[in-house]
Protein backbone atom coordinates (compact mmCIF):
# COMPACT_ATOMS: atom_id res chain seq x y z
CA UNK A 1 0.00 0.00 0.00
CA UNK A 2 1.47 3.36 -1.04
CA UNK A 3 1.33 6.48 1.16
CA UNK A 4 -1.66 7.91 -0.78
CA UNK A 5 -3.82 4.83 -0.08
CA UNK A 6 -2.57 4.71 3.53
CA UNK A 7 -3.53 8.39 3.98
CA UNK A 8 -7.04 7.69 2.64
CA UNK A 9 -7.46 4.73 5.04
CA UNK A 10 -6.13 6.77 7.98
CA UNK A 11 -8.43 9.70 7.22
CA UNK A 12 -11.49 7.45 6.82
CA UNK A 13 -10.86 5.76 10.19
CA UNK A 14 -10.08 9.12 11.80
CA UNK A 15 -13.38 10.58 10.54
CA UNK A 16 -15.24 7.53 11.88
CA UNK A 17 -13.60 7.92 15.32
CA UNK A 18 -14.18 11.70 15.32
CA UNK A 19 -17.87 11.35 14.40
CA UNK A 20 -18.37 8.56 16.95
CA UNK A 21 -16.72 10.50 19.79
CA UNK A 22 -18.44 13.83 19.01
CA UNK A 23 -21.77 12.05 18.45
CA UNK A 24 -21.48 10.22 21.78
CA UNK A 25 -20.87 13.52 23.60
CA UNK A 26 -23.95 15.03 21.91
CA UNK A 27 -26.12 11.96 22.61
CA UNK A 28 -25.18 12.06 26.30
CA UNK A 29 -25.96 15.79 26.47
CA UNK A 30 -29.43 15.18 25.03
CA UNK A 31 -30.52 11.84 26.47
CA UNK A 32 -28.74 11.24 29.79
CA UNK A 33 -31.87 12.04 31.80
CA UNK A 34 -33.93 9.61 29.72
CA UNK A 35 -31.60 6.59 29.31
CA UNK A 36 -28.79 6.90 31.85
CA UNK A 37 -27.48 3.32 31.52
CA UNK A 38 -27.31 3.57 27.70
CA UNK A 39 -25.50 6.90 28.01
CA UNK A 40 -22.97 5.19 30.28
CA UNK A 41 -22.19 2.71 27.45
CA UNK A 42 -22.18 5.53 24.87
CA UNK A 43 -19.67 7.36 27.07
CA UNK A 44 -17.29 4.37 27.07
CA UNK A 45 -17.66 3.79 23.32
CA UNK A 46 -17.15 7.50 22.57
CA UNK A 47 -14.12 7.61 24.88
CA UNK A 48 -12.53 4.63 23.10
CA UNK A 49 -13.27 6.25 19.73
CA UNK A 50 -11.58 9.47 20.92
CA UNK A 51 -8.48 7.53 22.05
CA UNK A 52 -8.31 5.67 18.70
CA UNK A 53 -8.85 9.02 16.93
CA UNK A 54 -5.92 10.51 18.86
CA UNK A 55 -3.64 7.66 17.74
CA UNK A 56 -4.79 8.11 14.12
CA UNK A 57 -4.42 11.91 14.27
CA UNK A 58 -0.80 11.46 15.42
CA UNK A 59 -0.15 9.55 12.17
CA UNK A 60 -1.51 12.37 10.03
CA UNK A 61 1.59 14.56 9.70
CA UNK A 62 4.09 11.69 9.14
CA UNK A 63 1.75 10.31 6.45
CA UNK A 64 1.53 13.77 4.88
CA UNK A 65 5.34 13.86 4.75
CA UNK A 66 5.34 10.37 3.15
CA UNK A 67 2.81 11.57 0.55
CA UNK A 68 5.02 14.60 -0.17
CA UNK A 69 7.96 12.26 -0.86
CA UNK A 70 5.83 9.79 -2.80
CA UNK A 71 7.12 6.92 -0.65
CA UNK A 72 7.65 6.06 3.01
CA UNK A 73 11.13 7.64 3.11
CA UNK A 74 9.19 10.84 3.92
CA UNK A 75 8.30 9.43 7.36
CA UNK A 76 11.78 10.26 8.63
CA UNK A 77 12.60 13.21 6.36
CA UNK A 78 13.02 16.16 8.75
CA UNK A 79 12.50 18.76 5.98
CA UNK A 80 9.19 17.23 4.84
CA UNK A 81 7.96 16.67 8.40
CA UNK A 82 8.69 20.34 9.15
CA UNK A 83 6.89 21.35 5.96
CA UNK A 84 3.86 19.23 6.91
CA UNK A 85 3.82 20.74 10.40
CA UNK A 86 3.88 24.30 9.04
CA UNK A 87 1.22 23.65 6.39
CA UNK A 88 -2.51 24.19 7.01
CA UNK A 89 -2.69 20.48 7.87
CA UNK A 90 -0.40 21.10 10.85
CA UNK A 91 -2.81 23.64 12.32
CA UNK A 92 -5.84 21.46 11.62
CA UNK A 93 -4.09 18.47 13.17
CA UNK A 94 -3.19 20.45 16.32
CA UNK A 95 -6.83 21.51 16.75
CA UNK A 96 -8.01 17.94 16.13
CA UNK A 97 -5.57 16.53 18.72
CA UNK A 98 -6.75 19.11 21.27
CA UNK A 99 -10.41 18.36 20.59
CA UNK A 100 -9.96 14.58 20.69
CA UNK A 101 -7.86 14.75 23.88
CA UNK A 102 -10.62 16.76 25.61
CA UNK A 103 -13.23 14.33 24.27
CA UNK A 104 -11.24 11.36 25.61
CA UNK A 105 -10.82 13.00 29.04
CA UNK A 106 -14.44 14.10 29.23
CA UNK A 107 -15.90 10.78 28.09
CA UNK A 108 -13.60 8.44 30.00
CA UNK A 109 -13.57 10.46 33.23
CA UNK A 110 -17.15 10.88 34.39
CA UNK A 111 -16.53 14.07 36.44
CA UNK A 112 -15.11 15.94 33.44
CA UNK A 113 -18.03 15.50 31.01
CA UNK A 114 -18.02 19.26 30.22
CA UNK A 115 -14.53 18.80 28.73
CA UNK A 116 -16.06 16.43 26.16
CA UNK A 117 -18.48 19.13 24.95
CA UNK A 118 -15.66 21.69 24.67
CA UNK A 119 -13.59 19.04 22.86
CA UNK A 120 -16.47 18.30 20.46
CA UNK A 121 -16.82 22.04 19.66
CA UNK A 122 -13.08 22.28 18.93
CA UNK A 123 -12.79 19.01 16.98
CA UNK A 124 -15.62 19.77 14.54
CA UNK A 125 -13.85 23.01 13.52
CA UNK A 126 -10.57 21.22 12.68
CA UNK A 127 -11.50 20.03 9.14
CA UNK A 128 -12.32 23.64 8.16
CA UNK A 129 -8.70 24.72 8.73
CA UNK A 130 -7.27 22.77 5.82
CA UNK A 131 -8.20 21.95 2.23
CA UNK A 132 -10.31 24.09 -0.08
CA UNK A 133 -12.35 25.60 2.72
CA UNK A 134 -9.30 27.11 4.40
CA UNK A 135 -8.16 29.29 1.50
CA UNK A 136 -11.23 29.76 -0.71
CA UNK A 137 -12.34 33.38 -1.39
CA UNK A 138 -15.82 32.39 -0.09
CA UNK A 139 -14.32 31.07 3.12
CA UNK A 140 -16.80 33.02 5.26
CA UNK A 141 -19.60 30.90 3.76
CA UNK A 142 -17.74 27.58 3.46
CA UNK A 143 -16.38 27.36 7.02
CA UNK A 144 -19.76 27.51 8.82
CA UNK A 145 -21.27 25.15 6.24
CA UNK A 146 -18.50 22.58 6.73
CA UNK A 147 -18.68 22.85 10.54
CA UNK A 148 -22.47 22.38 10.38
CA UNK A 149 -22.07 19.42 7.97
CA UNK A 150 -19.58 17.69 10.31
CA UNK A 151 -21.52 18.49 13.49
CA UNK A 152 -24.86 17.13 12.26
CA UNK A 153 -23.19 14.13 10.60
CA UNK A 154 -21.47 13.33 13.91
CA UNK A 155 -24.75 13.73 15.79
CA UNK A 156 -26.40 11.23 13.43
CA UNK A 157 -23.64 8.61 13.39
CA UNK A 158 -22.89 8.95 17.11
CA UNK A 159 -26.53 8.45 18.06
CA UNK A 160 -26.94 5.19 16.10
CA UNK A 161 -25.14 2.76 18.41
CA UNK A 162 -26.76 4.11 21.61
CA UNK A 163 -30.13 4.01 19.80
CA UNK A 164 -29.54 0.37 18.84
CA UNK A 165 -28.73 -0.43 22.48
CA UNK A 166 -31.84 1.46 23.58
CA UNK A 167 -34.00 -0.63 21.22
CA UNK A 168 -32.32 -3.86 22.41
CA UNK A 169 -32.17 -3.25 26.16
CA UNK A 170 -34.76 -0.69 27.25
CA UNK A 171 -38.48 -1.23 27.85
CA UNK A 172 -40.61 -0.74 24.73
CA UNK A 173 -42.23 2.45 26.07
CA UNK A 174 -38.83 4.03 26.88
CA UNK A 175 -37.31 2.92 23.56
CA UNK A 176 -40.32 4.31 21.64
CA UNK A 177 -40.08 7.64 23.48
CA UNK A 178 -36.32 7.96 22.82
CA UNK A 179 -36.75 7.05 19.13
CA UNK A 180 -39.61 9.50 18.73
CA UNK A 181 -37.56 12.30 20.30
CA UNK A 182 -34.54 11.46 18.15
CA UNK A 183 -36.66 11.31 14.98
CA UNK A 184 -38.22 14.72 15.69
CA UNK A 185 -34.81 16.30 16.20
CA UNK A 186 -33.31 14.49 13.19
CA UNK A 187 -36.16 15.71 10.97
CA UNK A 188 -34.86 19.26 11.55
CA UNK A 189 -31.15 18.55 11.66
CA UNK A 190 -30.55 15.95 8.94
CA UNK A 191 -31.70 18.22 6.06
CA UNK A 192 -28.95 20.59 7.26
CA UNK A 193 -26.40 17.98 6.09
CA UNK A 194 -27.81 18.10 2.57
CA UNK A 195 -28.23 21.90 2.57
CA UNK A 196 -24.67 22.43 3.81
CA UNK A 197 -23.37 19.88 1.28
CA UNK A 198 -25.21 21.57 -1.61
CA UNK A 199 -24.00 25.00 -0.44
CA UNK A 200 -20.37 23.84 -0.39
CA UNK A 201 -20.68 22.10 -3.77
CA UNK A 202 -22.23 25.28 -5.25
CA UNK A 203 -19.32 27.40 -3.99
CA UNK A 204 -16.57 24.94 -4.94
CA UNK A 205 -17.77 23.65 -8.32
CA UNK A 206 -17.49 26.13 -11.18
CA UNK A 207 -18.22 23.73 -13.99
CA UNK A 208 -20.84 20.93 -13.96
CA UNK A 209 -18.53 18.78 -16.10
CA UNK A 210 -16.72 17.99 -12.84
CA UNK A 211 -19.62 15.60 -12.15
CA UNK A 212 -18.17 13.28 -14.80
CA UNK A 213 -14.75 13.21 -13.13
CA UNK A 214 -13.69 11.33 -9.94
CA UNK A 215 -14.42 14.28 -7.60
CA UNK A 216 -17.94 14.76 -8.98
CA UNK A 217 -18.67 11.02 -9.19
CA UNK A 218 -17.73 10.58 -5.52
CA UNK A 219 -19.96 13.54 -4.62
CA UNK A 220 -22.86 11.96 -6.54
CA UNK A 221 -22.13 8.64 -4.80
CA UNK A 222 -22.41 10.38 -1.42
CA UNK A 223 -25.72 11.90 -2.50
CA UNK A 224 -27.13 8.49 -3.54
CA UNK A 225 -26.13 6.93 -0.20
CA UNK A 226 -27.59 9.93 1.63
CA UNK A 227 -30.91 9.31 -0.17
CA UNK A 228 -30.75 5.65 0.97
CA UNK A 229 -30.08 6.80 4.53
CA UNK A 230 -33.10 9.07 4.46
CA UNK A 231 -35.19 6.09 3.25
CA UNK A 232 -33.99 3.96 6.18
CA UNK A 233 -34.60 6.80 8.65
CA UNK A 234 -38.14 7.23 7.28
CA UNK A 235 -38.74 3.48 7.59
CA UNK A 236 -37.62 3.58 11.23
CA UNK A 237 -39.75 6.58 12.05
CA UNK A 238 -43.00 5.72 10.32
CA UNK A 239 -43.00 1.93 10.08
CA UNK A 240 -40.95 0.27 12.84
CA UNK A 241 -40.99 2.76 15.75
CA UNK A 242 -44.81 3.15 15.91
CA UNK A 243 -45.31 -0.65 16.31
CA UNK A 244 -42.63 -1.01 18.97
CA UNK A 245 -45.24 -1.17 21.73
CA UNK A 246 -47.68 -3.45 19.84
CA UNK A 247 -45.24 -5.99 18.33
CA UNK A 248 -42.05 -5.43 20.30
CA UNK A 249 -40.02 -8.50 19.24
CA UNK A 250 -40.49 -8.00 15.49
CA UNK A 251 -40.11 -4.24 15.60
CA UNK A 252 -37.02 -4.47 17.83
CA UNK A 253 -35.13 -6.80 15.47
CA UNK A 254 -36.20 -4.82 12.37
CA UNK A 255 -35.11 -1.55 14.01
CA UNK A 256 -31.76 -2.97 15.07
CA UNK A 257 -31.05 -4.25 11.56
CA UNK A 258 -32.06 -0.93 10.05
CA UNK A 259 -29.86 1.02 12.50
CA UNK A 260 -26.84 -1.21 11.71
CA UNK A 261 -27.49 -0.63 7.98
CA UNK A 262 -27.58 3.16 8.61
CA UNK A 263 -24.26 2.93 10.49
CA UNK A 264 -22.59 1.02 7.64
CA UNK A 265 -23.92 3.45 5.03
CA UNK A 266 -22.61 6.48 6.95
CA UNK A 267 -19.24 4.70 7.32
CA UNK A 268 -19.24 4.21 3.51
CA UNK A 269 -19.92 7.95 3.08
CA UNK A 270 -16.95 8.72 5.34
CA UNK A 271 -14.67 6.46 3.26
CA UNK A 272 -15.83 8.32 0.13
CA UNK A 273 -15.24 11.67 1.85
CA UNK A 274 -11.72 10.63 2.86
CA UNK A 275 -10.96 9.57 -0.74
CA UNK A 276 -12.48 12.74 -2.17
CA UNK A 277 -10.66 15.16 0.14
CA UNK A 278 -7.29 13.37 0.05
CA UNK A 279 -6.84 12.55 -3.62
CA UNK A 280 -9.09 14.80 -5.72
CA UNK A 281 -10.15 18.39 -6.17
CA UNK A 282 -13.00 20.08 -8.08
CA UNK A 283 -10.42 21.56 -10.47
CA UNK A 284 -8.97 18.16 -11.48
Amino acid sequence: MGPDAAAVAERALLLLCLYQAVGAALFIALYRSQVASICERARRLGGMAAVCGLALALLQLPLTAARMAGDYSGLHDARLLRLAMHSSQGLSCALLLTGLALLAIGLLWRRALAAAWVGAAIAVCAPALTGHTSVHPQRALLVPLLVLHVLVGAFWLGALWPLRLTVRLERSAVAAAVLQRFSKLAAWLVPCIALAGFGMAYALIDDVSVLQRPYGLLLLGKLVIFAGLLGLAALNRWRFAPVLAAAPARARSALQRSIVAEYLLIAAVLVMTATLTTLFSPED
Binding site: D4, S88, L129, H132, S134, V135, S281
Partner: protein
Amino acid sequence: MSARAQARRAGQLWLLGWFWLLWPLAAAAHAHLKQSQPAEGAVIAAPAQFTLSFSESAQLTALSLKKAGQSPAQELGPLPAAAGERLSVPAPRLDPGSYELRYRVISADGHIMAGSVHFTVTAP
Protein backbone atom coordinates in the same frame (compact mmCIF):
# COMPACT_ATOMS: atom_id res chain seq x y z
CA MET B 1 -14.74 34.95 38.59
CA SER B 2 -18.49 34.18 38.73
CA ALA B 3 -20.06 31.44 36.57
CA ARG B 4 -21.81 34.09 34.46
CA ALA B 5 -18.55 35.97 33.85
CA GLN B 6 -16.83 32.71 32.94
CA ALA B 7 -19.59 31.88 30.46
CA ARG B 8 -19.34 35.39 28.95
CA ARG B 9 -15.55 35.03 28.67
CA ALA B 10 -15.93 31.60 26.99
CA GLY B 11 -18.45 33.13 24.56
CA GLN B 12 -16.06 35.98 23.71
CA LEU B 13 -13.23 33.52 23.06
CA TRP B 14 -15.53 31.41 20.88
CA LEU B 15 -16.51 34.47 18.82
CA LEU B 16 -12.85 35.49 18.51
CA GLY B 17 -12.04 31.99 17.25
CA TRP B 18 -14.79 32.21 14.61
CA PHE B 19 -13.62 35.66 13.52
CA TRP B 20 -10.12 34.26 13.05
CA LEU B 21 -11.45 31.20 11.19
CA LEU B 22 -13.48 33.37 8.82
CA TRP B 23 -10.78 35.95 8.13
CA PRO B 24 -10.37 35.79 4.35
CA LEU B 25 -7.01 34.78 2.92
CA ALA B 26 -5.57 35.82 -0.41
CA ALA B 27 -4.83 32.33 -1.74
CA ALA B 28 -7.26 30.28 -3.84
CA ALA B 29 -7.34 26.48 -4.17
CA HIS B 30 -5.04 23.71 -5.42
CA ALA B 31 -1.95 24.36 -7.50
CA HIS B 32 -2.18 22.79 -10.96
CA LEU B 33 0.57 22.40 -13.51
CA LYS B 34 0.03 25.02 -16.20
CA GLN B 35 3.21 24.61 -18.18
CA SER B 36 6.48 22.72 -18.09
CA GLN B 37 9.92 22.82 -19.71
CA PRO B 38 10.22 20.32 -21.33
CA ALA B 39 6.55 20.26 -22.30
CA GLU B 40 4.45 17.09 -22.22
CA GLY B 41 5.33 14.95 -25.26
CA ALA B 42 8.25 17.18 -26.31
CA VAL B 43 11.08 15.77 -28.42
CA ILE B 44 14.15 17.85 -27.59
CA ALA B 45 17.90 17.96 -27.11
CA ALA B 46 19.01 17.28 -23.52
CA PRO B 47 17.65 20.14 -21.32
CA ALA B 48 19.87 22.03 -18.87
CA GLN B 49 17.08 22.33 -16.31
CA PHE B 50 13.48 21.35 -15.63
CA THR B 51 10.92 24.11 -15.04
CA LEU B 52 7.39 23.59 -13.73
CA SER B 53 4.85 26.46 -13.75
CA PHE B 54 1.77 26.17 -11.51
CA SER B 55 -1.57 27.99 -11.33
CA GLU B 56 -0.86 28.90 -7.68
CA SER B 57 2.20 29.12 -5.52
CA ALA B 58 3.35 25.60 -4.63
CA GLN B 59 6.21 23.96 -2.77
CA LEU B 60 8.05 21.23 -4.66
CA THR B 61 8.45 18.26 -2.30
CA ALA B 62 9.74 15.52 -4.63
CA LEU B 63 11.08 15.36 -8.17
CA SER B 64 12.35 12.22 -9.89
CA LEU B 65 13.25 11.18 -13.39
CA LYS B 66 12.69 7.73 -14.86
CA LYS B 67 14.12 6.60 -18.18
CA ALA B 68 11.92 4.15 -20.12
CA GLY B 69 13.04 0.58 -19.54
CA GLN B 70 15.22 1.52 -16.56
CA SER B 71 14.48 1.52 -12.86
CA PRO B 72 14.60 2.83 -10.22
CA ALA B 73 13.81 6.49 -10.86
CA GLN B 74 16.58 9.02 -10.18
CA GLU B 75 15.83 11.55 -7.41
CA LEU B 76 16.57 15.11 -8.55
CA GLY B 77 17.73 18.06 -6.52
CA PRO B 78 18.41 20.37 -4.90
CA LEU B 79 14.73 21.33 -4.79
CA PRO B 80 13.78 25.03 -4.43
CA ALA B 81 13.67 25.92 -0.73
CA ALA B 82 10.71 28.29 -1.10
CA ALA B 83 7.26 27.95 -2.64
CA GLY B 84 6.60 29.66 -5.96
CA GLU B 85 4.52 29.57 -9.11
CA ARG B 86 7.57 28.81 -11.28
CA LEU B 87 10.00 26.20 -9.98
CA SER B 88 13.28 25.15 -11.63
CA VAL B 89 15.66 22.31 -10.86
CA PRO B 90 18.96 21.59 -12.69
CA ALA B 91 18.78 18.56 -14.99
CA PRO B 92 21.39 15.81 -14.86
CA ARG B 93 23.21 14.75 -18.03
CA LEU B 94 20.65 12.88 -20.13
CA ASP B 95 21.29 10.20 -22.75
CA PRO B 96 18.92 9.92 -25.71
CA GLY B 97 15.68 8.11 -24.81
CA SER B 98 12.18 8.54 -23.39
CA TYR B 99 11.80 9.98 -19.89
CA GLU B 100 9.11 10.55 -17.30
CA LEU B 101 9.58 13.49 -14.92
CA ARG B 102 7.51 12.86 -11.76
CA TYR B 103 6.73 15.65 -9.32
CA ARG B 104 4.88 16.16 -6.06
CA VAL B 105 3.92 19.58 -4.69
CA ILE B 106 2.02 20.88 -1.69
CA SER B 107 -0.24 23.88 -2.28
CA ALA B 108 -1.38 26.63 0.08
CA ASP B 109 -4.45 24.67 1.22
CA GLY B 110 -2.27 21.74 2.33
CA HIS B 111 -3.27 19.53 -0.60
CA ILE B 112 -0.60 17.33 -2.15
CA MET B 113 -0.70 17.08 -5.93
CA ALA B 114 1.26 14.51 -7.94
CA GLY B 115 1.84 14.50 -11.67
CA SER B 116 4.28 13.64 -14.41
CA VAL B 117 5.64 15.01 -17.70
CA HIS B 118 6.81 12.71 -20.51
CA PHE B 119 9.45 13.79 -23.02
CA THR B 120 12.05 12.33 -25.37
CA VAL B 121 15.69 13.35 -25.61
CA THR B 122 17.24 13.05 -29.07
CA ALA B 123 20.87 12.46 -29.97
CA PRO B 124 22.83 15.76 -30.41
